[in-house]
Symmetry: C3
Subunit: 140 residues, 3 copies
Amino acid sequence: MGGGVTIVEPANFDGCTLVEGCFVGSFVEIQAGAVICARTRVQSHAFICELVTIGADCFVSHGAMFINDSFAGGGPARGDRSRWGHTRIGDRVSIGTNATIMPVTICDDVVVGAGAVVTKDISEPGFYVGNPARLMKKEK
Amino acid sequence: MGGGVTIVEPANFDGCTLVEGCFVGSFVEIQAGAVICARTRVQSHAFICELVTIGADCFVSHGAMFINDSFAGGGPARGDRSRWGHTRIGDRVSIGTNATIMPVTICDDVVVGAGAVVTKDISEPGFYVGNPARLMKKEK
Amino acid sequence: MGGGVTIVEPANFDGCTLVEGCFVGSFVEIQAGAVICARTRVQSHAFICELVTIGADCFVSHGAMFINDSFAGGGPARGDRSRWGHTRIGDRVSIGTNATIMPVTICDDVVVGAGAVVTKDISEPGFYVGNPARLMKKEK
């Protein structure tokens, strides 16, 4: 855990890495092995699972949740980690309230709208909305 | 805080106003300056931010969340409150489970369906569903 | 409560039934009368209300929420239980992250995608996604 990290209790941590200047709101769970880079804010009720790396200066809004098990075999992996997927979020990415992020890669400078469900990689900056999430406009 | 207010712990409060007869469920966060009027129920896992006013006899269901920063400039306001927006909810409004409310005004006697994302003002009573939320039927 | 049940605190329980081998994550609320059958996992931030029965070997993912009051009369039932509906979930059902389940019956061997809103009974195994949820493919 880096310097200047702020955590609002109750929160549930288990071996994650929080770089300097991070903020973590109340009722947040961050699982082991997740990495949250500098100055990123994780707002209340968010959930960040194993195998997720979030870049610097990001904003994970309230109730936003990540997934490492996409039920690819028709159901949960039940501990078979070979079936889990990685998520890599770039820098200056904002994830909207109640959005859900499948195991994907998102490039720098992306905004994901409220309630969106991101099911595919995002390789172009812009504003993505809907379920499944689609590019709404290229300028954020 | 008015008389007859019920709060289920753990909950996270910070200077909000709860008028008489309100109910607040577990794992709820209500930020400073939010106003919840008489007999309104805020169910578990809901999040109500600054600059939100909710009328009387409303029902904010489980996991429903409000937003005051719509990432209008392509990202979070990062404390620049001039970029935050107000939300004003009328009386007898019901907000469905896991719904998300952007900074808007909603008139009296509206129902917002489960999982809906309200992105625009609602000035006509009725039942609104979907992402983005649209009028499904005029009678609630 | 059966043997081998694991609960991660803080969690909020009130008279529900957890059969052997269940797992319940942090920030979960399960209301009175709900029944969770053997080896089912309820992940963090989930909410399970009264009148919900979930079968064996199910997976209720993070932030997934159930509803017993569908605002059928244009607003909340306000304690009139005759207006609440039952939800019955079969065995080996997986409910995705941030999904919402109205009062319905879901058969065995169903997967509900992330962020989906299930508004009708599901009587055929398969993978259901979207708001409202629709069959995406018959094989899970």
